[in-house]
């Protein structure tokens, strides 16, 4: 009786309590609430950043994803994921998904574009509008008057089909992708220095270094899972962060080098000077495997510690310490990201890093390398198969032999392959501005938000005769300007391969139904090929996996040769496979080493998953042979150039931009759809201000301020912190307002925009 009364008075159980009770989930997933108990589980590689984490997707009876967790057996992330990975399924269910094609109802070429005028139409009508408008433009203004801007966010097979369709089928020439905004510099730097765009490292190098030097990289926030690998390093490594800001990574480093913004090229040359002066270079390696060292040595002779300290703001003692780390530590790895890539002299800066690795012999061994951490999940796929700068598979458009080879492999007429490369992103926009390009097809990117000096980009897009946007959402800043919106399926709604930072091919699987009539980008390209009248040309591309087999053939004999990969199932079974990967017995272009540390592993993970033990972690250049014809890597250099827009009396601050939160991805078109990710990012734009500047301008914490540049202004809330230097401000790049401010400077080699530095003024509101 008492217990009945107790139960009545205190309900310790019931439906709400049951909701939270955890039950064994099976599939190695621990315990989950009953509602989320999976009927099956499968794996897929994450579709946000280039880390390429393996995710375990929890499926219900009908094979539909109901939840996910990071895959403990995956060689990249070892059971961890950042918040974006955890929330990867949420953006698929957003209410503003594009579910049918949308066509602007009032003709085309309107001076102002308004999303209200976009009306749902059938796919047939949409395809007709696509072909009619683009063909009309081509007839009137020539075949090269249409262009596309694509992305590093779609699978490799889709990138390749898009590039092939546009250039070989539709007769276009000018195309580029948003990888221009993140990775073009690394691409060009590696290609010029090594002879092929080949990031040499494997993530195991994070764990095997004695010293890690991060230059313009904040992995704690931008690549948390790579930072996890750094934290797994058992060698008590020196961790150096070269960054003007005391970032989260700099806080965790053993040495933070707070140099003046964009003085990194000078700093790196100064270190080269010191290493030579102290005879701390590896002469044997230089002589056997590199070219151009003497010229480089002569060039850096001027970069004396006194000069470098003066120009970079880094004390000479710190320069000496850096030189000592580089010269004396057994295994030094150098890592860079956007702080280097998004600069007015980005390519030479990346190559200055490469030069340091070459001259000290810190390459081709465990825990070494001049290593570019990539941005987007498939930037590496785009670099190899985007068909923009290089011909499909890392070939050269200007080389007749390459054109014939690619045409033969794909069963095309070689005459359909353009003999030159087209415009880069900024040049395409300039050509639109001039009226040379009249039709633009934007695929899975958000130019109207992300392009540098955004206001001008919007004005330029408004000049187009016909703008097609193919995206998951009809609500992106760019889609709202479109004449035609094509509804695309997203990550998790289609199949294909992504290539991560360490050259690992990973598989994306279809575990969710695309809403309405949305189609995978691959299917959309197939439909457009048919509608355009060039469907015959792409008959062999009947499915993503069929396309993968074509790409595999294209890779044969290239440094990126992955002909040893049988099929999707093979990739899946291995937890991703790094290129190069050739069949056993075939010649390996780079002769990758199977290092002792990586070789036969008997870790517990292999019990449940039969990984091919020796292929999990591989690095390049273990034999010192590079991809130039002479097998040597090149020392490349140029004198540093001044900042394109230095602060002055009117705009006295230098604005730095960068990633704000690990929960945000680029323009937020996906991450903003998750309430959890939104919660994990600041709700309003926050500008970091040094206390001295704040005191001078009578700005106190959380005050509203305005940041103005010559191009626009942005309102923000003040966060007063000495993690930025006096005279500098920091804004996270994800807010739409930030690129109103940025100054359109470009690296001359990579044409990558220099987002990281422009002159601004600051005032309290």
């Amino acid at each position: 009786m008492t217990s009945a009364l107790d139960t009545l008075l205190r309900a310790g159980s019931g439906p709400m309590t049951s909701e939270m009770v955890l039950h064994p989930a099976d599939f190695g997933l621990g315990r989950v609430p009953a509602r989320l108990k999976p009927a099956a589980a499968t794996t897929a590689v994450c579709g946000f950043c280039s880390t390429g984490c393996g995710l375990k997707i929890h499926l219900n009876e009908s094979g539909e994803a109901i939840n996910l967790s990071p895959d403990p057996a995956h060689p990249v992330n070892l059971g961890m994921a950042c918040p974006k990975g955890w929330e990867a399924l949420t953006p698929l269910a957003a209410p503003d998904r594009a579910t049918t094609p949308l066509l602007r109802s009032r003709g085309t070429g309107l001076p102002t574009r308004d999303s209200d005028l976009l009306a749902p139409v059938s796919w047939e009508r949409a395809l007709a509008a696509f072909t009619e408008n683009f063909k009309r433009i081509q007839q009137k203004h020539g075949p090269h008057s249409i262009a596309f801007l694509s992305t590093g966010q779609i699978v490799t097979e889709e990138m390749a089909l898009l590039g092939a369709l546009f250039k070989f089928g539709m007769g276009g020439l000018h195309c580029d992708s948003n990888t221009r905004q993140c990775m073009a510099t690394s691409h060009v730097a590696y290609k010029q220095s090594f002879g092929f765009d080949a990031p040499p490292f494997t993530y195991a190098d994070f764990e095997e270094s004695d010293a890690l030097i991060f230059i313009g990289a904040n992995p704690c926030i931008a690549h948390p899972i790579m930072w996890q690998r750094v934290m797994m390093n058992q060698r008590s490594p020196e961790i150096v962060v070269i960054d003007p800001r005391k970032t989260e990574t700099a806080q965790a480093a053993t040495l933070h080098v707070a140099l003046r913004p964009k003085s990194d090229l000078t700093l790196l040359y100064g270190l080269a000077h010191l290493l030579i002066a102290r005879d701390a270079v590896k002469r044997e390696f230089i002589e056997a495997h590199t070219a151009g060292f003497d010229e480089f040595a002569a060039f850096v002779a001027d970069f004396t510690p006194a000069r470098v300290a003066h120009e970079t703001g880094v004390p000479e003692s710190t320069l000496f310490r850096l030189a000592e780390i580089l010269g004396k530590r057994e295994r030094v790895s150098l890592w860079w990201t956007m702080g280097v890539n998004q600069s007015h002299e980005a390519t030479r800066t990346a190559q200055a890093i490469i030069n340091l690795a070459l001259m000290t012999g810190h390459i081709g061994r465990p825990g070494t390398g001049a290593n570019s951490i990539t941005g987007q999940c498939n930037a590496m796929g785009s670099r190899l198969f985007g068909n923009a700068t290089s011909l499909l598979g890392g070939y050269d458009f200007t080389n007749a032999g390459h054109r014939t080879h690619v045409a033969d492999t794909l069963g095309l007429d070689a005459a359909r392959i353009p003999q030159k490369t087209g415009y880069a992103y900024d040049q395409i926009l300039d050509a639109i501005d001039r009226g040379e390009i009249r039709g633009l097809w934007v695929i899975a990117t958000n130019t109207a938000h992300s392009w540098i000096n955004q206001s001008r980009a919007k004005e330029i897009l408004a000049k187009l005769d016909f703008l097609v946007v193919q995206d998951m959402y009809a609500t992106t800043e760019t889609a709202r300007m479109a004449d035609l919106v094509l509804p695309a399926a997203g990550w998790g709604e289609k199949e294909g391969v992504l290539i991560n930072s360490e050259r690992r091919l990973g598989l994306v699987k279809k575990v969710a139904r695309a809403p309405g009539q949305a189609l995978s980008d691959f299917a959309i390209f197939q439909l457009i090929a048919e509608a355009w009248g060039c469907g015959e040309m792409f008959r062999a591309w009947r499915s993503p996996e069929a396309a993968f087999q074509l790409l595999k053939k294209l890779s044969a004999g290239q440094p990126c040769d992955f002909t040893g990969i049988r099929d999707y199932a093979h990739i899946d079974a291995e937890g991703g496979i790094q290129w190069p990967y050739v069949e056993v017995g075939a010649a390996v272009p780079s002769r990758p080493e199977f290092t002792a540390a990586d070789a036969p592993q008997t870790q517990a993970g292999s019990e449940s998953r039969p990984y091919h033990q020796s292929i999990r972690h591989r690095r390049l250049f273990t034999d010192g042979r590079f991809f130039h014809a002479d097998g040597r890597a090149k020392f490349l250099f140029d004198p540093p150039r001044p900042l394109p827009e230095p602060p002055d009396a009117q705009f006295p601050f230098l604005l730095l931009t960068g990633r704000g939160s690990s929960a945000q991805w680029h323009t937020g078109s996906r991450t903003d759809k998750s309430a959890v990710l939104r919660k994990l990012a600041p709700t309003v734009l926050t500008v970091e201000i040094h206390p001295a500047d704040a005191a001078r301008l009578a700005i106190t914490a959380s005050d509203r301020v305005v940041v103005r540049s010559r191009r626009g202004e942005a309102e923000a809330v003040a966060l007063i912190t000495a993690t930025v230097q006096p005279g500098q401000l920091f804004l996270p790049m994800h807010a739409e307002a930030v690129n109103r401010l940025t100054f359109p400077a470009f690296d001359p080699h990579s044409r990558q925009p220099a987002y990281k530095a422009c002159a601004v003024a600051l005032a309290r509101l």
Partner: protein, 542 residues
Amino acid sequence: MVASKENFPLLAELLAEQQRLDTPVARFATAHAALSGSQLSTLSAQLRPQLLPLTAPRPGEQYAFEVDLDSCSGCKSCVAACHSLNGLDDTETWRDVGLLVSDDRRHPFSQTVTTACHHCADPACLNGCPVLAYEKDPLTGIVRHLDDQCIGCSYCVLKCPYDVPKFNARLGIVRKCDMCHGRLAHGEAPACAQACPTHAIKIVTVTVGGALCPDSVTTESEHKAPPTTFLPGAPDPSYTQPTTRYVSKRALPPTLVAGDHATLRPQAPHWPLVFLLTLVPAAVGTQLVALTQPDFVTYYVTNSAWLAGALGLAISVLHLGQPRRAWRVFLGWRQSWLSREALAFGAWFALSTLTLVLQSAFGIRHFAFPCATAALGAFALFCSVMVYADTRRAFWRFANTAPRFFGTAVVLGLAGALACGELGRTAMPGSPHWLGFALALATIAKLVFEARTVLPAHDDRNEVTPRLLTALLLTGPLRAFNELRLFAAVLGGVLLPLAIALRVAPPAFAWAALALSLLGELAERYLFFRAVDAPKMPGVGA
């Protein structure tokens, strides 16, 4: 060529293919994944010894979170993992990551801080719950919430200084972190701890009552400098004795403040409570004023007071997420001022009703009844004051809350009496003149008292205190309501009553005075809820 009939087959085929799940490719991993069975994945299993204590807590000990600040890099995976693995609702999170910053110019420093429920030794949520919906597990010390017991009053949300319990609108209850006790019981680490890429979160055993004692960490992390304080920038731990251990090998700069320490965060208005705490004081006040003039105890006054009380109490039910469970509200009377308040209001209303019934139906007008009713009402109001004072929020301290609540009673009691007197004019000689003067005086006194709240807004703003934040809220985001409050009080509580008392305005204007005074007090109570500085763990800026 345009899309034509012959393309339809391809389109139809592709659209159908797009909707087809469970493709061979999607199934690849399923078979071997199933082999691993219900055991935890190998890596997490390997980590278990690092993340969990090897033995159960002994008497005098409990489980606690330990956060290694040196390893926390602010990736926030813990928040997302907790959300996903516990199946929380779309907008629901039980963990949060904030930021500590230093404005020390020579030593730039920032520190990310992950935080969830601290499973306090003396939990304020538990102590405040009117229905005993919280329990502290005697073995593990985990502060658990009984979801089916909760009435959704959200008082724990106000009581917890760390902003831990979260109201779930779908369920109409509060939910919070339970340290994944269902995982711990099976040797599995909590979701946040499993998911931290740098293993910054783990479960340790701590000595209860010695939460801040340096010797209390009993894990292998003893080599780390034990914390001497809970965490800079966090609310005073002496109130609830949080058990979470924040450890760091580095000395944290003394100048650290929360990234959002100066952020103005208007709090939820709690409209039903605004009406409850305006109408019930009005009723009690009217009863009190009526006592001073036994002759004046009219039918109208008694009825109006009863009506206001009934209305206030009825509206207050809307505040509850699960009103059908509210009958259990008496359970917590030993510990919870909210439980006492509910009981006192219940008794007061019953007595008010009895008084009314005796008076109107039986003509019994014994003076003891209104006296007892008013006294009980005043006690209930005192309980109301204590409900807020007991949250230890600066703006809601006793010295600030009591004058406001009782001030409302006096002002609206006088205004009500003034109006009721007007209503009863034909039968009675009309309300005494002093009522008008008294109302004006009471309103002025209350306004002067309230004005002190906005004074810190003009102080030196270098030191951000809860009082300053309240002042800045009242003069910033809430300025319009503050001005409305002032306007209504000056016109309805001062000018009109004076005009009536001085016979410049007709007595019928008493109705306008009452309406405006009521509006002014509603606005004041609204600001009482919105302008409070709610303590919380460090958040991010803005």
